[in-house]
Amino acid sequence: MLAAMLERVCRVGFLVVDDVVVTFGGVRALDGASFAVEVSQICGLIGPNGAGKTSLFNVISGLYRPDAGRVSLAGQDILALPANGVARAGIARTFQNLGLFASQSVLENVMLGAYHRTRAGFLGGMLRLPAATREGRRIRDEALAILDLLGLGRYADHPAQGLPFGTLKRVELGRALAAHPRLLMLDEPANGLTHGEVAEFGELILQLREELRLTVLLVEHHMGLVMGVSDTVVALNFGRKIAEGTPDEVRQNDDLIAAYLGTAA
């Protein structure tokens, strides 16, 4: 009892998820999940379909209000923020099935990620006040730099519509980066990529972590990627944590092999 309390008090982390419960019409999507991620660490989040990974993302990014539990980022209570305050707190994410604006160009989609950082506001933008144009130019230049970093420079003016799925996943990453996040949450970023491309993508994540001191939460079914880049791995099943540790530790976990990895893992 005392040990448990001490552990709770002493556990510090940059991102702390504590005893989060989310229910949908009686079904517990998250059933008391707890874990912490240190600053500049990459945490892989794995588990079967329906284990609650995306629900957890939605809680951290303010889309769902949990029924119970706490989430904090650098000591700040995330759940107390309004949904649009989460981006300001430094949290950016990508979506499993893409959350892009199909008819807008790749560049515009990335620039939208920086929207919450603009100060001139809608009216200033409409009236083309000098401050707004200056700000717009700066954001545009930055978005172009992000596209170059992600190898998407040549698609800048292409509408998002019609680009391959794997490319669109990277456009989403670009939009998330434009928000200058402290915590980057990636939902199945390797979808649609071949083995060689996944390896490159893994390098990119490591590079971003080094250069931007990003903390990364990564939901991914591609074990090569998760095990290759993560510092810690958290496994969920039925909304609960069933394993946590270094990739090597988690890989040996029998529960996880039975529930998720299968024999060929």
């Binding site: 999507a29 990974k53 629900s55 939605n58």
Partner: protein
């Protein structure tokens, strides 16, 4: 109490007309994802057509039935010729197109039949019963029965037939519907055709109460629109419940709030109701909320 019940019954008998036109709008929304602002005008032109056939000697019921059949073809043709070419455009374009259809239909009606008010023959014989002091006319009861039958048949069509399954699949996921061998374009034409048929009935049942003239359905359209918004744009049941709720509220407001709001403002009362409901349930009473599963 009797007075109150009488007002409710009268409200129901106008409400079913809103419900019927609302059903037509729901049909089109479900088939093509479009809100058809021309629905009322199409119903008006259909009513004129039936009236003309009757004038030429066809019995009124036969005239209405013939108009419904022709209406089906006309609705399908409008989908194919007017809507399909712009189907992939954004919502504003589609709204402009149906508004354009509204004005053209209205103008054509006026051009052909003029703006003189005509009397539309009542398809129901004049008869009434009195139950506990509440008077029920055969026309009211008949209209209610027709709306119930139409609603029931549409439900059967959508949920019990292969064609209905194809129509629902086509609106749910057009791409997968095509890949399953469903002719999505044909489903959309049929949706518009059915809507025009239901709209014909709405026009023909409204006309005896309203007098036949080109702008006859304007008020009905407003209420039918409010009914489907309240009920949920994709819900046939919602259109019926919404239509009844609006008909009854309108009538009760006229009866009890007359001193307060006056006759001109009584139409605002059901719209205030709509506003209130939408604040609480933006998807409408029976509408399906877009649920994204994790």
């Amino acid at each position: 109490m009797t007075y109150f019940l009488q007002q409710v019954v009268d409200g129901v008998s106008t409400g079913v007309i809103y419900a019927l036109l609302g059903l037509a709008m729901v049909l089109i929304f479900r088939a093509t994802g479009i809100i058809n602002f021309a629905q009322g005008e199409l119903a008006t032109i259909a009513a004129f057509f039936a009236w003309q056939l009757n004038l030429w000697g066809l019995p009124i019921w036969l005239a209405i039935a013939a108009t419904a059949v022709i209406g089906f073809g006309a609705g399908a043709a409008i989908e194919r010729v007017v809507i399909r070419p712009v189907a992939n455009k954004d919502h504003f374009t589609l709204i402009m197109v149906t508004l354009g259809l509204f004005m053209i239909t209205n103008a054509v009606t006026g051009l052909v039949w003029g703006y003189t008010i005509q009397a539309f023959p009542d398809p129901f014989p004049v008869a009434a019963w009195t139950v506990h002091g509440v008077s029920l006319s055969l026309a009211s009861v008949g209209t209610i029965v027709i709306v119930c039958v139409v609603g029931f048949l549409l439900y059967q069509l959508f949920h019990r037939t292969r064609l209905g399954l194809g129509m629902r699949a086509a609106i749910s996921n057009p791409e997968s519907a095509r890949l399953s061998g469903i002719d999505v374009g044909r489903m959309q034409m049929i949706g518009w055709g059915l809507a025009a048929m239901v709209g014909t009935l709405a026009g023909a049942l409204a006309a005896p109460k309203l007098f036949l003239e080109p702008n006859m359905m304007l008020g009905v359209l407003t209420y039918a629109f409010a009914a489907v918004i309240v009920g949920g744009l994709d819900s046939p049941l919602g259109a019926v419940v919404g239509g009844l709720a609006i008909g009854v509220t309108e009538n009760l407001a006229g009866a009890y709030l007359y001193d307060f709001v006056g006759n001109d403002l009584k139409i605002a009362v059901p719209l205030a109701l709509v506003f209130g409901i939408l604040l609480v349930r933006p998807q409408g009473l029976f509408g399906r909320r877009a649920v994204a599963r994790a």
